[in-house]
């Protein structure tokens, strides 16, 4: 028999999940990955040179901008979709500034419970393992120039997605999609197009994941009508 979870822990978990509930986080990651993949397709080969340079430069600036302002962009999108529907909650502390604030609070004797700290530590551990796996997969893709590497990388990315799935609310689309993507590139793609196709496929998987989650969320939570005076 499993014991019921303490309410504070359950509230923390729900608040954490709430950040991912609308799929906007994955949607923005997907769009950003697609923008990055545009440069990998080497537009100089199939576009007039000035246009290719301008577009590549614009894509790189856009990519860097979205990467640096990721959280602000997601928050802005949430103010349009999520907050009016189901309310706002600040995601549980993860960034250093907030962690420092928690230290201040703990010094004043009103610390966060050890159970919450344990939960956050487990989450960080899951994230670290998933990212490490993705980094290893990316490294092997760069180092090993064999056709089968795309299938192997796809499988490794899929494993990373499965590990991170529960904590970061990733649907089954990326874990299932990655091995298929890798296999397709190994079988059909010309070798020099491998990286570009893999990265753009990755972006598409995240966009698909984010879009389906967003549509489901909007259908489940229609925007409340303004009260009539």
């Amino acid at each position: 028999m499993t014991l019921p979870q303490p309410p504070v822990l359950a509230a923390e978990k729900r608040a954490w999940n709430y950040w991912f509930v609308d799929g906007l986080t994955n949607l923005v990651v997907g769009v950003n990955t697609l923008i990055f993949s545009f440069c990998l397709f080497n537009p100089l080969h199939w576009l007039p040179k000035p246009l290719a340079i301008v577009l590549s430069l614009a894509a790189m600036i856009l990519y860097l901008g979205i990467t640096l302002k990721y959280r602000e962009i997601v928050e802005w999108l949430k103010t349009k979709t999520t907050y009016p529907r189901t309310g706002y909650v600040h995601p549980p502390a993860e960034d250093p500034a907030e962690a420092a604030n928690l230290v201040t609070v703990s010094l004043q004797g009103a610390h966060t419970s050890p159970e919450i700290q344990m939960l956050r530590m487990q989450r960080r551990m899951t994230w670290t393992i998933a990212v490490a796996l993705a980094v290893v997969a990316s490294f092997t893709m760069i180092v090993i120039h064999q056709r089968w590497i795309w299938t192997a990388a796809g499988t490794m990315f899929s494993a990373a997605m499965i590990i991170a799935r529960k904590d970061f609310r990733i649907s089954w689309i990326p874990p299932v999609g990655f091995p298929i993507l890798g296999l397709c590139i190994t079988t059909f793609a010309p070798p020099h197009m491998g990286p570009a196709l893999f990265i753009s496929g990755m972006g598409l998987l995240f966009v698909l994941d984010g879009t389906t989650t967003l549509i489901r969320y909007i259908l489940q939570n229609p925007k409340p009508q303004a009260p009539t005076p």
């Binding site: 309410p7 822990l9 349009k80 907050y83 309310g87 706002y88 600040h90 009103a110």
Partner: protein
């Protein structure tokens, strides 16, 4: 009254009320939440939630701030340090009450701390 039972009498009545306990539990776990989120989490009506929040605010356990995120107006509720400490203290006392007798050492330790 025995000392064991006396600890029950020192429970913070403001937090002990179920609706306020729910609100405090949610706010303890997060940094800040708005009115709509709290309403959905706790399953309370607007009037009920606002009256409980007003009581918590009067005790300086909760800080309420009206603000905007873009064009969306929000009533943000945050647990104050005083509120955080009060909730932690409340949870500690409840733990002492519900602890099995075999854990005598831990109970004595907490009791010594609280007295």
């Amino acid at each position: 009254m025995t000392p064991d039972l006396q600890s029950l009498a020192t429970l913070d009545r403001l937090i002990h009320e179920p609706a306020r306990l729910m609100i405090m539990s949610v706010l303890y776990a997060v940094n800040e939440a708005d009115f709509l989120y709290l309403q959905r989490e706790c399953g309370l009506t607007q009037g009920n939630l606002s009256s409980h929040l007003a009581k918590l605010e009067a005790a300086q356990y909760v800080m309420i701030e009206k603000t905007f995120k873009g064009k969306y107006p929000m009533t943000i509720c945050t647990l104050t340090l005083k509120g955080r400490a009060a909730f932690a203290n409340y949870v500690q006392k409840i733990r002492v009450v519900s602890e099995p007798p075999s854990n005598g050492k831990a109970t004595q330790k907490i009791r010594r701390k609280t007295s």
